[in-house]
Symmetry: C2
């Protein structure tokens, strides 16, 4: 049994205080993992936080704080061993196995995501998709056939999907979200332009593409 199976050793100050890891930390773990993978490909087996920071523009202190939230991975006076650390971070992120995805809405964005994620990403796989448009239901997309949202429960059960993606218009988002939850999905990435809130049971990540345009538009004129 791995040492952090239940309850990582949260430091009493500085890092994540009360017991919940910050999404900012989790995102950095992903970046560290990529950097370590890159180093491994170059045959580099050990790296210090300073060196990792220098090469990939991180903060050395933050690397150490982030990692220390999950245990002691480093060797004092030496640094971190690339391969074991990469494996450990991959484990923390749940990447030791494949995660299956169901997509709601297979229009422009939904079908692009299905192809993008379906092919490129070893640890994630799009295994099902639904749409209310009768023209789309029954169509083949990658390795599955597009279903109707009313079939979500069955599709999720049969495909073992864990992550739901909302790529539907705003007007259909709430309904499809409810459908995903009813089907037992506990993690949702929402591309519809409305804020869905995470709850204790369901983790929601809002990805608002329009807002990104407006953000850069703001800075263009200021």
């Amino acid at each position: 049994m791995s040492p952090s199976r239940r309850g990582p050793r949260w430091s009493s100050s500085g890092g994540g205080a009360d017991g919940e890891i910050s999404p900012l930390t989790v995102n950095r773990l992903s970046l560290y993992l990529r950097a370590l993978t890159h180093l491994r490909e170059q045959g580099i087996l050990r790296v210090s936080s300073k060196e990792l920071a220098r090469r990939y523009r991180f903060s050395a202190a933050l690397i150490r704080k982030d990692l220390a939230q999950f245990g002691e991975f480093g060797i004092r006076g030496v640094g971190y061993e690339v391969v074991p650390l990469a494996e450990r971070i991959a484990g923390l992120l749940g990447l030791e196995r494949t995660h299956s995805i169901v997509i709601c809405g297979v229009g422009n964005l939904g079908s692009a995501l299905a192809r993008y994620w379906g092919f490129n990403h070893g640890n994630f796989r799009v295994v099902a998709g639904v749409d209310t448009d009768p023209q789309k239901v029954g169509r083949r997309l990658g390795s599955f056939t597009v279903g109707h949202p009313r079939e979500l429960k069955r599709l999720v059960r049969e495909s073992g999907a864990e992550i739901g993606v909302l790529a539907v218009p705003e007007s259909a988002a709430a309904e499809n979200y409810a459908g995903l939850i009813a089907a037992g999905i506990r993690a949702v990435i929402n591309f519809a332009p409305l804020r869905l809130e995470s709850t204790a049971d369901v983790r929601v990540k809002n990805v608002d593409l329009r807002i990104n345009l407006e953000e850069v538009a703001f800075f263009l004129s200021h």
Copy 2:
């Protein structure tokens, strides 16, 4: 000349301290604008920060702080006038005119974004796209013909594009980024899985779709 043409009246504490508006604030302005548009459609002409917060799950104090960074928009004892405030925020975000977008990489994601943004968004328009794949160059996409990255300078000049979108594989990102900058683009939305840094001249918004999956995967197992 509008009162905040040069240098909004930054409060000496609390809000944005030194002279740069936080992206968090800018993103919330977008959300406020949507909420106000929604209210306007319902014929509501005045709203208090408290009411706006209640309806759309914002923080009333933060609405006031955010807006106060740009001037005094409210009427004490009353609230805000929906239509003028919406127009003012739209002005701040630079949405009083159309912004043109050029897309680098018209594969799955790039072409989906072209269609998604090309049709749905009044204030943004995809006016050009490039790809190194000879199969894609010359193809019609929406209202333009796909070009080659070496034509970027001309395409940007002729189309008047201001915002560049990187939807190319990681290996081609740096090169295409350089091409966009050389062509005079000053705002970039980067979908490639590597961090590009904003500079004084160029605003970069990184949108890492893979990292979102890893984030929810983390919370699935914790």
